[in-house]
Symmetry: D3
């Protein structure tokens, strides 16, 4: 993946997306003529993978005065400990106080998703994972979600906007809707093959109308060498995809000579199920993961002022002064 | 609240935010010359409050052919049962197939937030709740979050964008940052009073530097009649806000004659803690709720084709034909 | 069912199946010239349904002296409480002491099975249950097992020997082996219909090669009015039989006009699953239950002497003298 | 033990004990003129010790055509893994299809018992265990039970029929009934000694009328050198046999000079209690185990066709073709 | 019981038993010339029965100035709620500040014991309970323990000092030591009968050497009409006293005509076991309870100043001013 | 600590504190002229630290005949195993039988407390612990409690009587009452400093009126070098003392230059909380422990006769004869 170029939106820059009390704070300080150089530290409530810091840096680059700013941060994709400071900003407070809401929010959502993706990737021990989560989040953030999933280690994503953001091709197979609209899995697979450009892998979804093993053989016979994979997405009403089903489809494909056809599994996949599949020896060639990544809880971040004009301060419950963290890099 | 006017973004309308396989499906069907009138039903994976349907309707109004469409749906804010169909679309498939990702995503996030908000509101038995969740979500959806929170019953929200969406004033007090920047709670409270327009309620945050009860008395003595409320937001490092603390602050304010000063509580508030506060008899006048609402898991929605050109169909695991649901209203 | 006529086997009568220490006891008492009239009470270790008492009575009728015996018992199929006395024998000890092992063993196995059968029958609320347990027990007791299952309320059984014992026709459908041997479910069903006498219901097993719903429609179309039922026996590797599968098969059969074809369910059925099916509204017309009945733990029975020549006695831990139980009937 | 010679009963050979649907299958195949060479594999549902295979082989030897059969199996008493194939039969299907019920049933019961016996034997770390389970099973299978217990490692059994089957002397002590009939433990023990052949060990049951320690001393004083053991079988109503009781009896016997008298323990003994006794240092010389072995759940076995006339087949959920298992030995 | 006359010890009055910091506080206040009229409230950490208040009042009567004191309290033996104020003292602080340690300590131990005793009494539904706890506490407080047990509802106690305190006869039977010293239960019982005054009930301890049921009959035959009760105290090594044992002893005594001999049970008795005995229908005539009462956790009490010279005060976490409690009675 | 000189009270020596049945036993044996040399063993019901044995030896020294006594015991403060014999007395039974109640009671309470103290000391890994438990026990045993706490490893105690018993200075800070009486923490601290002798460490209690961190700085500024420690005792209503609070107070004191001021923590301290504090890195310099030690359950001890005139005896459930225990030392 290439590092995307983030551009803060007008709503963020204008403070529209901020909590009102930050807007008021800036207004009061202006009236009082107060604009102290203040050091704010942002720390995480729980361990995980940091994501969103590039988008935050793009925002800070726009708003902090070039000649009076110091910013330290962890890198995009680094692991972070519980309560670790991941970002430290030293600059006149009026220049950035308004953006505390946006900074925390960007990091919260992105880090939550990247952390969940990393758990899946770790469980899969090298088997590629495609992010299928766009359908579970508001479309305004579908791209950010898939960006975070790829930071977390996913090999691809299904949303077009996400794929664009990171400069890759979107990945996907065919939906049940195509098969139902065409009335038959084999017919739909042949049409897919006919009209899709050659670089799109032929992956047939085989659980719509018939037994998965039977359908796998039918599409393999219809497409021959061109068939890249079959996708198993059996719904829970039919017992979901089980390790035994995967093994059986593999054996039946192999017995019929289709050893090269891969098996791609989706539907409620999460790290626990991935682990169970692998420990049961199920021969999976790829996973599609949706809700586990997209429904990951945002990881809370909090921001505290620790110095005002060089003097250690802190609210009750926090330690006055800079928090030592040798992992922080000066980034601005 | 007034019903906001939703406007689908260009990214959604162009299909950028869609899963790639829907774009491919439309392309294949076009090549095949297939555009059957298809009936798609969207149902929810779990019980809760439906939210986002207005935004979905705004999208469908843009894309469905006016003379060949039927849409049934539940209302914004209605309760929905597990597996209940909340939306049914009957129209030529090519007109809407591309938007399945966006439709499910809008409903998933919005309904998850509204449902969580409703739980807090139910627990609070009439005590008003302000949504403070913007800081835990990506700024691109801060407004939608606060809209959903208000659909769920919240009395207000802290984000400017969210308040605009529903046509109310944003609500908020003052952040710790203002007090730390000014060096003293009383000084900050006086400045707040001096510069803020009279219609903004004077709410002082009293846990920054001193004991909450002591500070409450200090700001009450400084502002007199003008003080509307004190806000307790004690951090976990100091034991958090407890029912006993609220009671004690109330007793000490009353003993000093400040019976009219209200107490507003924030910091990790959720339905369980709200219930505990109320059952312990803690005299709370308002709650600020952040993470419980904003971190609510999206509620998964799924979409299935149930009729093609009037004929009952369904993939394995689903029932062919229209699913009866007398609660659905014809909306288009 | 008609009450079967039990006939004690030679091995039981000769004492071959007894614990050796009873044989020795009789020998010692003979040498000592001791043959007191002794009252033995048999009680159960746990609550359940009494079964086997008819077989025990057949044994006692052979061995007790006609002119010096009193036997009280509960009826076959009666409920019994924990620790309740279900059988009391008063007779010269040498006449029956040898049979304590057999008496306890007959009651233990039979009552365990009948009790388990009754639990299934209770859960099924009127839907008939067929005992399919013969394959889980040694063939020497297959008949006794099915007899007990029918005492427990089952409507039929699969073993020929069990059905003979109670004077009914054995019940069954077709095994996977027939379908595999013939290579196709429809072919096997047609052959079944061709050669079986008309009074045997046509029940087709529909999970062998294809999707259950698809196969159900195929056999229904092939046999028309003559098809009585389809049997679902989906293995665990494919998710087992679920409530949703049953509902879907029903809907698809009905949509095709086969409303009269019944659905019979087998495979790991037990009271909990029966209850779940019924509470989920799954339209089942019959259940086959195997392991839950046949693997039921035998219910332990113990026998104690409570009177010797009219004088109350008991070992430590037991109460001397006759245990009052007004539910006992004099049967000999 | 010598390997017993099993003889299939007439009921089994005639198919009386079979599930009716196998009888029907054979009939249909005959009418159709189908008798393919079929390969059936029998596998176990859970790990344990295989038992009953000798009895199954005796049955197969009677029914398979000598010139067209191949049978592979594990040995009697071998460990088997979950889902392991323990038996493979290749022969014309009509010759053996009728016996699937009996084959599975023999293995289920026998393996369940042998596995439970092995658990007790393992727990006892060399202390001999006698099977006392006959009283918990129907007398028709008392012999098979005790055979399986001995395959599982028991040193002896109480049923005469079981002991005969394996060619050993049955083992046992004396029942409470003898003592109650004679009115005193010492008197009963003296009578036992007087009439029993010298090779029968003198084991006195010491919990009937008096404190176990007191009674142990009384019988030891009465029988002197001839007393082999005392048996403790204290009922639950009196707290059951505890490690402390065993130790105390040992100390009191030793203090009185009866160091050679052994202590035999029975009554609700299972692997957990055996382990507790040994870990508490209770000096036990032998255990009698009843219900834990005889009430062991049968281990389910299932049989599947995997080849028809040399072609791999299988029902859905199973793998077509022969299942590789290098542990299988060709036995026929 | 008559209300005992408590007399504070010299160690308490001199402040020897106080925490040193109270002694220092008094000294500082004296130096400062401060002796404000202060109101101290004592409240309990958990619900229970108040005990010790009479002893506290005896102490306060000695130390508070007669003309400048007000004391409110609950009564000895009253129920108290969690956090309820049970004692309020208004007097010059120097007169009583030194005794906070003693006041809390007296109430803590006494209330803990009385509360535990009440639980046993409630469970026993009218069957008398004797306090046997002296052996588990330091002899300096054996009397106070038994006083509290009787306040809690016990019918008697075993310690001489406790019985004297409340003006009743101590209760007890005979220890194992007497029986072991005399070598036989019957001999010891006869000697007890010979030398004890006639008003002492003859209660024989029957588990020392022989089976309890056997020994019960022996002592009943030896003492005839004079035997009041047998006591069962079977140690855990022998299974403890069980409901079944009690029933069996009752039946065997009745069968022998000793219907009037009562059964008294001791050994690890607590409310749960009392309830189990009664629910099992065990015919118990009296219980001896030791450790459950004597090992009861002291109930913590805390003391806070709430007024100084008529002005409401309180430390953080407590409410300033008098705590309303209409149940308090003016006692001084 | 120096070993205190225990002196048995008159109530103990006269038998007043004994269970009445021991008094009766002695009386009966006197009438019978029986005074056998008897060996009594005292053993513990659970593992822990033995305490009280010195007080028991002081009692035995008074009552056993000098020329006919043997006493073996473990040392004060030694660990003891579950069921281990900790004391063996061989002497004429009449000389000591009356004192079984007192002996067991002294050991029970003292060992319970010492064991609990040791657990705290172990958890604190060298950080000193002061026993603050006097307020939770009856004043008659406050001294014994603190003696046991110090045997268990505590560095000091708050009760004057306990400190005297072991020959140390009592330890303590100041109570909330002093601060409330004087109206301000700083004023109270200054007065404390003014009147207390120089050897008493200046420890200021800083949670009464203000935020702990703020108050710590105020008293440090007021007392300067003379301030030894601050004590944190935050009540549960305010979240109790947390590891974060301790760290924050430390940081704020250090930032203000008061690195030498120590932090002492009290209030519901127990081994689990001590461990949590240390594992969280909270910089504690001393703990005050109250209820965990003083509310420790007494450890039950039981006494059994094992020899009478040299002959092994024992009641049922115990082993006759001397119990070997090489750890016992001859002490008399």
């Amino acid at each position: 993946m290439k590092q995307p170029k983030f551009e803060p939106s007008e709503d963020v820059l204008s403070g529209e997306t901020a909590d009102i009390y930050f807007a008021r704070t800036i207004e009061i300080l202006r009236h009082e003529g107060l604009n102290p150089v203040a050091t704010m530290e942002v720390f995480t409530s729980s361990a995980g993978m940091l994501c969103g810091i590039e988008e935050v840096k793009a925002l800070l680059a726009k708003v902090l005065p070039v000649d009076n700013r110091e910013v330290w941060a962890l890198n995009e994709g680094e692991s972070m400990d519980k309560k670790e400071v991941v970002l430290r900003i030293k600059a006149p407070y009026q220049s950035y106080g308004l953006y505390e809401t946006a900074i925390c929010g960007i990091l919260a959502h992105s880090s939550g998703w990247a952390t969940a993706a990393r758990e899946c990737v770790a469980a899969a021990r090298g088997i590629p994972i495609i992010s299928f989560g766009a359908r579970h989040v508001h479309p305004s953030i579908a791209g950010v979600l898939d960006y975070a999933a790829i930071v977390g280690g996913c090999a691809g994503c299904s949303s077009i906007v996400g794929a664009k953001l990171v400069g890759i091709e979107p990945a996907g197979t065919m939906p049940h809707a195509l098969i139902i609209a065409m009335g038959d899995t084999v017919k739909a697979t042949i049409a897919f093959d006919k009209y899709m450009p050659p670089e799109v892998p032929r992956v047939s979804l085989v659980d719509t109308f018939k037994d998965e093993a039977e359908e796998s053989l039918r599409v393999a016979q219809a497409l021959g060498e061109k068939l890249n994979s079959v996708r198993l997405d059996t719904p829970g009403e039919r017992g979901g995809v089980t390790a035994d089903l995967i093994k059986e489809v593999r054996v039946r494909l192999d017995l019929a000579g289709f050893n090269k056809v891969k098996i791609f599994v989706s539907g409620g996949v999460d790290p626990e199920r991935i682990t169970n599949f692998l420990e049961s020896g199920a021969p999976v060639d790829g996973f599609g993961v949706g809700g586990y990544i997209s429904s990951a809880k945002p990881i809370d971040f909090a921001a505290d002022l620790h110095e005002i004009e060089g003097k250690p301060v802190a609210k009750r419950g926090r330690m006055p002064g800079i928090t030592a963290n040798p992992r922080l890099k000066r980034v601005m």
